[in-house]
């Protein structure tokens, strides 16, 4: 049923692995590359080809446990098996893992242990599901027979035999112990059913073999006998009918508030109630007879590090409370293990901080989940604080996300296309008014500086003035280019109202015939929800298959960034009608000079698509096109 179970170190060693069938491809590699490295560890399962993968971390030892199985199987026990394996592995090889030489150890002896743990869980889960006809010995009838009453308690407790031999490890033990507790419960239920309704043939929990009352004779339950009688007695008492519209005497008194209100203490109580609605500390002050509302409190501005303040409280409060003085000393001297309760407030703070920096809210949640999963169970040194640890981890996570995983060297791509004597085409897409045409002309200027022949295709056939806008740009660029005598630029236009896909096709053919190096395709801006327009964009992409599809997005955008990108990507996929649909290859982030340090959009966009940001637009002139500096963005994100 399982295909593969493996124990890895984060460094990349396979400590222990068991294949149950031949594995096609490398699902575990794919898991690491697509999920774990991309900081998407917040999700719980991952499907690759026909496999479903689940995993868990043992952060203390930097281990990863992975189980792979066929995704069409609904295996409910995988999560528990992973946890059991984790416990079992860490207890069995505790000495080996404790030593500095983790990789050098021999872990092959784990095979039988894992198999046994797996079998136990599988049995446990299959039992609760299977509906097998009960044996006669299990039925209620049998208990009333002579044999049944003679049968000794515990006679059918055979399930547990066999687990006591060998190494009885904590993990395994607890997994085994559970059924016996369930038996106990089942027994009680059985006894109760017997007493309550001897005829109705109460069904015990399906297929449990050990459902036998210890003495073999029905035990009368006092509760069951007493309760119905008590219920009857109550009901038999007569209650006076209350007629609609009339108020009974008792109710009248209850509804009369006039007398009570006169009581002084009650008034005080209401006053206190109203008082609680106003926070004195946040009251505004009266200036010149006007009541001025207090300013929004942004916290201490002089604080350099957002997480330093009240950090000590956050960390020590929960632990100190639970374990008293001893815990306090432990906090001071020993190594503390990080648990969810300790992380919670710090991560919450981190999350709001990221949202303040304009990161989309669900993305900051994902990131915090991912950081949490990589920190749980880690040991904290004497002088370490949780917040610095979280901050460091977040910094690495952010760097990872923002670092491009594909080459962003467009010039090199153009060279490659040139070698095949084909024009390199770049399509600019995006919503209205984000600066597609403006940044297209900036890119054009940069390409001209590098001595390329550029053709601009005006495929915005919708908005009035779009073609004229490009014409002005082309004229400017031509003037600049003739003064510097580098490159060459031409505008390809077919007026308004025509089919954009057709114009783009014509432009590419024209470029190929006239020896142009690059074609820049400007498209009309569109809302991501406008289906007809998205269809026409997908058509443009499907027909022309441009070398790069660049999404132009504003840096000002917040939560909307995720929606825009996912919907554009989805449209390119759904409406293309191609076998291998295209997707967004990269982004240009515009208006970057307007946002100060609220650079969250950069993170939202790269996280959503997994694609790099090619350029950022930082101003009004042709030269205001820059490369994104990852360290700068990370710094701005974490800075207060």
């Amino acid at each position: 049923m399982l295909d593969l179970c493996t124990v890895l170190t984060k460094g990349g060693y396979v400590l222990w692995q068991k294949n149950y069938t031949h594995i096609n491809g490398a699902p575990v590699d794919a898991l690491i590359r697509d999920v774990l490295i991309e900081e998407r560890a917040g999700i719980t399962s991952y499907n690759k080809d026909s496999y479903a993968l689940k995993w868990t971390f043992l952060n203390e030892k930097e281990l990863v446990f992975v189980i792979a199985y066929q995704s069409f199987l609904q295996l409910t026990y995988v999560d528990e098996l992973l946890e059991t394996t984790k416990r079992l592995f860490s207890t069995t090889f505790s000495e080996q893992l404790e030593s500095s030489d983790v990789v050098g150890g021999d872990y092959s002896s784990f095979d039988p242990l894992f198999d046994r743990a797996w079998k136990t869980l599988e049995e446990k889960y299959s039992k609760s599901k299977q509906k097998v006809p009960r044996k006669f010995e299990d039925t209620k009838k049998f208990e009333n027979t002579l044999h049944g009453s003679k049968a000794k308690p515990g006679m059918y407790r055979t399930v547990n035999v066999g687990y006591s031999e060998g190494r009885l490890l904590n993990g395994l033990l607890s997994a085994v112990k559970e059924p016996s507790v369930e038996d106990e419960i089942a027994k009680n239920i059985q006894a109760m059913n017997l007493a309550g309704s001897p005829r109705s043939g109460a069904r015990g929990p399906g297929g449990r073999r050990t459902v036998k009352s210890p003495k073999g004779s029905p035990v009368p339950s006092p509760n069951m006998a007493a309760d119905p009688a008590a219920g009857k007695k109550k009901k038999s008492q007569k209650v006076m009918r209350t007629w609609e519209g009339k108020v009974a005497k008792g109710e009248m008194e209850a509804l009369d508030y006039s007398k009570k209100l006169e009581g002084q203490e009650h008034e005080d109580a209401t006053l206190a109630n109203a008082e609680s609605l106003v926070d004195r500390s946040k009251m505004g002050n009266v200036v010149d007879g006007y009541y001025e509302v207090q300013d929004v409190d942004y916290g201490d501005e002089d604080e350099d590090d957002i997480f330093d303040e009240e950090d000590g409280d956050l960390v020590s409060k929960p632990t100190a409370k639970s374990s008293g003085v001893f815990g306090f000393f432990k906090n001071l001297t020993g190594q503390r293990e990080i648990d969810a309760a300790t992380l919670e407030p710090v991560l919450q703070k981190m999350k709001t901080h990221l949202i303040d920096k304009n990161v989309a809210s669900n993305i900051s949640q994902h990131l915090c989940d991912s950081v949490q999963s990589s920190l749980l169970g880690k040991k904290l040194g004497t002088f370490g604080s949780v917040s610095t640890l979280v901050k460091d981890n977040m910094e690495t996570a952010l760097k990872r996300i923002l670092t491009p995983k594909t080459s962003v060297d467009i010039l090199r791509d153009i060279e490659q296309a040139k070698a095949r004597s084909k024009a390199y085409s770049i399509t600019f897409i995006g919503v209205n008014g984000v600066g597609k045409s403006t940044n297209l002309s900036k890119v054009c200027f940069w390409l001209l500086q590098n001595n390329y022949r550029v053709l601009i295709a005006a495929c915005d056939t919708f908005r009035s003035g779009a073609v004229e806008q490009l014409r002005v740009h082309a004229r400017n660029l031509k003037a600049l280019q003739s003064s510097h005598s580098v490159g060459e630029v031409e505008l390809f236009e077919r007026g308004y109202g025509k089919d954009a896909a057709g114009i783009a096709q014509d432009a590419i053919t024209y470029a190929n015939n006239n020896d142009f190096d690059v074609v820049l395709i400007d498209t009309a801006g569109r809302m991501q929800d406008n289906e007809p327009l998205m269809r026409s964009l997908a058509k443009l992409v499907a027909v022309n298959n441009p070398d790069k599809i660049i999404f132009v997005g504003e840096a000002l955008v917040g939560n909307e960034a995720v929606d825009q990108l996912t919907k554009f990507n989805q449209a390119l996929k759904d409406f293309s009608g191609l076998q291998n649909p295209r997707h967004i290859d990269g982004m240009i982030l515009t208006k970057f000079d307007t946002i100060d340090d609220k650079v969250g959009a950069a993170l939202s966009m790269t996280y959503t698509t997994g694609q790099p940001i090619y350029f950022v637009g930082t101003g009004q002139t042709y030269t205001d096109l820059k490369n994104l500096k990852v360290s700068h963005v990370v710094q701005s994100l974490l800075k207060n």
């Binding site: 460094g11 990349g12 930097e62 820059k626």
Partner: protein, 240 residues
């Protein structure tokens, strides 16, 4: 406070404190002076972790894409079991995944040498991506400033499809030559203060060759699978 009233005791205290500081400083300086850290870099699936395991444990071990760097102090030995370096060397295996490799820059200031692992069987297809990484390493300011020697270890020579070392050299040189042109023409970085800009690699007006670089770049073939690593260990032994 009677203790501190005695001037002799006070002086003794000061002297002691100074001595401790001095010893600490010497210790730190010494540690920095004889840096013997060797970085193992390269693209994913080139065989970095496998090479690391070979050198560290002298055994073959199944590996998978690394998520974290591996570090170890290793005593390198020759066939007879005698140590070939005066003192154990520090090996750092940096993950090759595009999103993780930025970590290598943190180790550059203490690097004594760089082992750049290349997969000889796939280099024909992945020349560009490999060269981009190699270019970043070569153009790193620490590489150029402290002339860190680099050995390009062409791994997997045991396989039938492996390219010869000389062919790999021409492939990489040609790629770097092209990269050199495009990188210098790239749009400048935002907020750049000008110091991070890499120097032009090699000689201007000439096709790029590894010999043109100021630091030593050696190419060798090796096979982690067969334990054929003598060329690398000898190179390390020569350096330290």
């Amino acid at each position: 406070m009677a203790f501190f009233d005695n001037p002799l005791a006070l002086i003794a205290c000061v002297v002691l404190a100074l001595a401790i500081t001095a010893i600490g400083l010497i210790f730190i300086v010494q540690k920095k002076a004889n840096n013997n850290t060797y970085l193992i870099l390269g693209a994913t699936d080139a065989g970095k972790t496998a090479l690391f395991t070979r050198l560290r444990y002298n055994k073959k071990s199944p590996t998978i894409t690394s998520m974290k760097e591996n570090e170890a102090t290793v005593e390198l030995v020759d066939d007879s079991g005698a140590a070939i370096t005066k003192q154990p060397v520090q090996l750092v295996d940096v993950p090759g995944h595009e999103r993780l490799r930025f970590r290598y820059a943190d180790f550059m200031p203490i690097a004594r040498g760089i082992i750049f692992v290349v997969d000889s069987t796939t280099i024909g297809r992945s020349a560009r991506t490999t060269a981009e990484y190699l270019y970043d390493v070569l153009a790193n300011q620490h590489t150029t400033k402290s002339r860190i020697p680099i050995i390009i270890a062409c791994n997997k020579t045991d396989l039938f499809t492996a390219l010869p070392t000389s062919k790999i050299q021409t492939l990489l040189e040609a790629e770097i030559n092209r990269l050199r042109a495009t990188r210098s023409a790239a749009v400048e970085q935002q907020e750049s203060s000008g110091d991070a800009v890499a120097d032009y690699l090699g000689y201007e007006g000439q096709d790029f060759k590894f010999e043109h670089l100021e630091n030593d770049v050696t190419l060798v073939g090796c096979s982690v699978e067969n334990g054929d690593l003598n060329s690398i260990t000898e190179w390390i032994a020569d350096l330290s």
